[in-house]
Symmetry: C2
Subunit: 150 residues, 2 copies
DNA sequence: TATTGTTATACTCTATAACTATA
DNA sequence: TATAGTTATAGAGTATAACAATA
């Protein structure tokens, strides 16, 4: 196994390591996650829950996907009764999205009962390691944000 | 934004946060990464570089994908001249995979010159934050490994 | 004209099931 | 029979290009 510590202070080397480990972790999580909801739908629904109602374009921007991609994701959420579309009364081009009670319940169930694989793995770590991952989770979220200067 | 710190010591809540942030980071990295190689090919090639020659089955197991999936990945690497197939001289069913010099060069170029987006983002962090991410990268790799008891 | 969102189309990544060749 | 790998097929997730409706 390559020693990640050798690249710690070198952003390019860390980038290379992170790219691999994040990709593998994402793949593994997808494989093990709750069959009731895919990671893509989960992430979008989570955003609707935490940010409140958003337009389709805002949601696409927040998730760093193109609008047609978000159209599909939204369609899947609406078909599943997890989100609801509401036309904007003033601007006929705009669609507002909101999580439904059913969507909220699904997220609650997911948090309580699912992610079993990941939860089990995390339980094998020390409290310090979980603290570290929690802070890393915030850093990853910051890295994945849209360019501040874009 | 949901406060991740509230879930730090709770493995299930951390699992939920990590699932979202890792998924988003993976998506963003794919979108921004070197157009010359996809994350899936990069990860497999990286494994061949660090572990040396492996059979197709070993590689599939290491990457946590099914064998048919790895067959496709390998085919893409071989088509691109990045890896080489060699039949096992003793067991006719087995195929050995090895990285080619061209594959090694591509990984070097990727490390040096690409991952620009990610490198730039990492440069905006403090040294401490990069240290933290480096250790998190190891933890994520451990989490994504095959079950120790499977 | 510019913007919001959708439809059409295509490519990547992944899986399961069935198959071939070899042991 | 069992194992290693491939082929066939399907589904999820994403993108770009072209379009419709509205501003």
């Amino acid at each position: 196994m390559r020693a990640t510590t050798t690249t710690t202070r070198d952003p390019a080397g860390l980038a290379s390591d992170l790219r691999v480990s994040v990709w593998r972790a994402a793949r593994r999580m997808r494989r093990e996650s709750d069959p009731g909801i895919t990671p893509t739908l989960h992430a979008a629904l989570f955003t609707l829950e935490t940010h409140g109602p958003m337009t389709a374009g805002q949601l696409a921007s927040h998730e760093s996907v193109q609008k047609p991609t978000m159209t599909r994701t939204i369609q899947a959420l609406v078909d599943g009764g997890l989100a609801r579309r509401t036309p904007d009364p003033l601007d006929g081009r705009v669609t507002w999205l909101a999580i439904t009670p059913q969507g909220t319940r699904l997220l609650q169930r997911t948090r309580q009962r699912t992610d079993e694989f990941l939860t089990k793995r995390l339980e094998t770590l020390t409290v310090e390691e979980r603290d570290l991952l929690a802070r890393a989770s915030d850093l990853l979220a910051r890295i994945a944000e849209k360019d501040p200067d874009a």
